[in-house]
């Protein structure tokens, strides 16, 4: 009759449908269509960047944890997500070592040195991108014209560098080009179609909360509507709402970057604030700074504000009542 029974603290049941690994896997699944689109539009060099970036991110995590004698947590797939996101933030003609340096920066400098998964205060992939952008400005800003369909064609050295849709003065792209991703830009940010598909998948799987992307994109839309007064017209060039929404890294940032659990607030209200803040900063940087695009800096800025937002949006316990008299509270 007596057999080995284990004891532990309640609750004894656990929701087997969720695990950190499963969440990361969902994010990877959501990112895959965009990876395919990236390879479609930017060819073999995009594929190379994605592979190198993911592998070096995983290697960085493994090497760090191995040498620090920490438990190896590569299997939680979070490094794969970071690697993918970093690759998506690189231009197609970036050399392979940029991806390696970026991955190591993201995993070791931004994530592991602050304590590993869950402890980094800014998004690792975005922080690495920012460092790369500031360190190798010419390599990171050069944008190849997409050669849609020329599958696995090597990125030729004589690829024409052109202005991204958001570069000041540029406006030669149709809405469909912007939406489908047939525009120059970072390899993972151009195809809005697949990014939005991934976002819908994550929402259905309840991996991300609708608040951050909706507040983020909504704020940008409202800000541009106030500034330009046009939803869309060909004549207005880039000065209309839809053109701005579909350009640059906004969708990638709103769906996959700003929603990063670790660096976004935990409460519903906090997430709304996060989204609105991202939107406002993006608008300000795009319009009033010398950078054509400010998605990553907007998100990084709100990442840093997250602990503050969390503090001010902390929930009051159910049934919380302000003590009527201080004396009574002391007694209780």
């Amino acid at each position: 009759m007596q057999k080995k029974l284990v004891v532990s603290c309640s609750p004894h049941l656990h929701n087997k449908a969720v695990s950190s690994q499963r969440i990361m896997l969902d994010v990877i699944i959501a990112l895959l269509p965009t990876a395919v689109a990236a390879v479609w539009f930017f060819g073999g060099s995009a594929l190379m960047l994605i592979i190198v970036s993911v592998l070096s991110a995983v290697a960085a995590e493994f090497l760090y944890q191995y040498h620090m004698r920490q438990p190896i947590t590569v299997s939680d797939l979070s490094a794969v997500v970071t690697g993918l996101l970093l690759a998506f933030n690189l231009p197609a003609n970036a050399p392979w070592w940029i991806a390696v340096v970026g991955s190591f920066l993201a995993i070791i400098l931004v994530k592991q040195l602050f304590g590993g998964l869950g402890q980094n205060f800014i998004n690792p992939a975005l922080a690495a991108r920012a460092i790369l952008m500031l360190s190798w400005t010419s390599l990171m800003a050069a944008n190849v014209l997409p050669h849609g369909g020329e599958w696995l064609a090597p990125a030729t050295t004589d690829a024409v560098s052109v202005a991204t849709p958001l570069a000041h003065g540029a406006s030669g792209f149709t809405l469909w080009q912007l939406f489908s991703g047939d525009v120059p830009g970072m390899i993972g940010e151009t195809c809005k179609l697949t990014l939005l598909l991934g976002g819908v998948y994550l929402l259905i799987r309840r991996v991300i909360d609708w608040r951050i992307p909706v507040a983020f994109i909504g704020t940008v839309a409202i800000a541009y509507f106030i500034k330009t007064g046009t939803l869309y017209s060909v004549e207005s060039g880039s000065q209309n709402v839809l053109y701005q929404l579909l350009s640059g890294g906004l969708i990638l940032g709103a769906v996959f970057m700003a929603t990063d659990y670790v660096t976004s607030p935990m409460t519903g209200l906090g997430r709304l604030i996060m989204g609105i803040g991202c939107g406002l900063f993006l608008f300000i940087i795009r319009e009033y700074s010398s950078y054509p695009e400010g998605c990553s800096f907007a998100i990084l800025f709100m990442n840093v504000l997250t602990p503050l937002i969390d503090r001010f949006t902390g929930t009051k316990p159910f049934g919380f009542e302000k003590p009527k008299t201080p004396a009574k509270e002391a007694k209780a």
Partner: protein, 450 residues
């Protein structure tokens, strides 16, 4: 309408692993009595009882063997007839030793003389309260709060009585089956309380997954306009007192407060039936319905004498399944895991759940701040922050985060993708903060005395 009867947070833990459907169709059976019962002197929140018997004494069924000592206390009665073997500390479900009366059953089932209340309709609150204390009634939902205290004439006017038939714990079906066969008795006892407290409105809250119980209860209180049976969303912890009060009346019970302060009295259906037995039959609380479910050969609902050791129930269910790995005293969300077969069933034990290994928690990993625990917390706390404060030993921070509000429902741990023991942290925090508060109070009193 159904949107109205909701409360913040909560989870739905039944999907796929719900054993409720297994036992909810099985009638309550009375298993063979155990040859020996172990009756703890404390089966309620509050002060333990003083034992009235000694080694060698002969006892009958229903004989009072424990005298309540404090204000918050409730009597204890013998559940079998036989001889007292000893009065000694025994290990109980929480793993601690406490004084118990051990009785050898002579299987004669001799009862003491029973004295039903002569004029039940004339009972006032004070009479019901005194009877409850004497008959050993406690909250049978699991909290085991003495009904002698709960049903005291209140300082504020009560206008709502809530009959708690939610039974939101996975696997358990004890209340469900009881409602099916004892609906009339439960309603009768409710009417006595309604009368004694001058209550205007009676809600009977039952989760929608018990449609037969809803029908039976509706039929039993047909014609009485003050009663309304409310089908509730199948949502854990629907049966939590504060959650139920909020779902039905939209009143928020204060932090650390009782529903009575908001004019609502919440009574578990099982306790209500026990009250009926006490009033109309004169029978003290010596048995209760226990669901045995999960990884056992033959799950069932049993009417069990208090003090029956767990192994008797497992034998009745024909033993564990081969992959059984954990035995739980109560439901899987709030119950206590036990690893001894001699632990007795007490008044607060609504079930014995056995779980397979594959259902248990896995390895803990780092918090990824996903916010799921915040989403599901019915008390609107931030469990992961409390957990972090606790692990750093910052109990003051944990207190500021509202750790004392935690009702230990386990929704946070259930939904944590990183498998973190959030509930455990909150529970431990509560204990440590509670001890600190007590110590501070004592210090204050001492200084006041000087």
């Amino acid at each position: 309408m159904s949107l109205y009867y909701r409360f913040p947070g909560g989870i739905h833990p039944h999907e796929g692993i719900n054993g409720k459907s297994v036992t909810s169709v099985l009638p309550i059976v009375e298993p063979q009595q155990p040859s020996r019962v172990v009756i703890p002197m404390q089966q309620h929140i509050g002060a333990p009882c003083k034992s009235l018997v000694k080694k060698g004494d002969r006892v009958k069924v229903g004989m009072k063997i424990g005298e309540p000592t404090g204000f918050v206390s409730s009597a204890v009665h013998s559940s079998v007839s036989g001889t007292v073997v000893n009065v000694e500390p025994c290990v109980l479900a929480n793993g601690l030793e406490a004084e118990c009366v051990i009785i050898d059953n002579d299987f004669k089932d001799e009862w003491v003389e029973l004295h039903p209340v002569e004029n039940p309709d004339a009972m006032d609150a004070a009479a019901i309260s005194a009877l409850s204390r004497e008959m050993g009634l406690v909250g049978l939902g699991g909290a085991t709060f003495p009904y002698g205290v709960k049903l005291m004439p209140p300082k504020v006017k009560l206008d709502t009585l809530i009959l708690n038939g939610a039974e939101c714990e996975p696997y358990l079906s004890a209340d469900h089956r009881l409602m099916l066969i004892k609906a009339k008795e439960i309603i009768e006892a409710t009417k006595r309380m309604q009368q004694a407290f001058g209550i205007e409105k009676v809600f009977i809250g039952i989760e929608k997954n018990k449609p037969d119980a809803i029908d039976v209860m509706k039929k039993a209180c047909e014609g009485d306009k003050t009663f309304s049976v409310v089908p509730l969303r199948v949502w854990y912890p629907q049966g939590g007192e504060k959650q139920l009060v909020y779902a039905l009346t939209k009143r928020r019970v204060r932090t650390g407060g009782l529903p009575i302060e908001k004019g609502a009295l919440v009574v578990n259906v099982g306790s209500c039936y026990a009250l009926y037995q006490a009033i109309y039959k004169g029978i003290p609380l010596i048995e209760r319905v226990v669901t045995v479910s999960g990884a056992v050969q033959k799950p069932g609902n049993y009417l069990v004498r208090i003090g029956t050791p767990v192994h008797r129930l497992i034998e009745e269910s024909e033993g564990f399944l081969p992959d059984a790995k954990m035995m739980i005293y109560g439901g899987p969300m709030m119950g206590m895991a036990i690893n001894r077969m001699d632990i007795p069933v007490t008044k607060g034990c609504s079930g014995i759940t056995v779980l397979e290994r594959k259902l248990l928690h896995g390895q803990e990993s780092a918090c990824i701040r996903c916010g799921r625990c915040v989403e599901v917390c019915p008390m609107l706390l931030c469990p992961s922050d409390i957990d972090k404060a606790f692990r750093k030993g910052r109990y003051d921070d944990a207190e500021k985060l509202g750790a004392m509000n935690c009702l230990e429902c386990g929704a946070c741990s259930w939904s944590c993708p990183a498998n973190r023991a959030l509930t455990q942290s909150c529970k431990t925090c509560k204990k440590i903060i509670g001890e600190r508060q007590r110590a501070a109070r004592q210090k204050q009193q001492k200084e006041g005395a000087k």
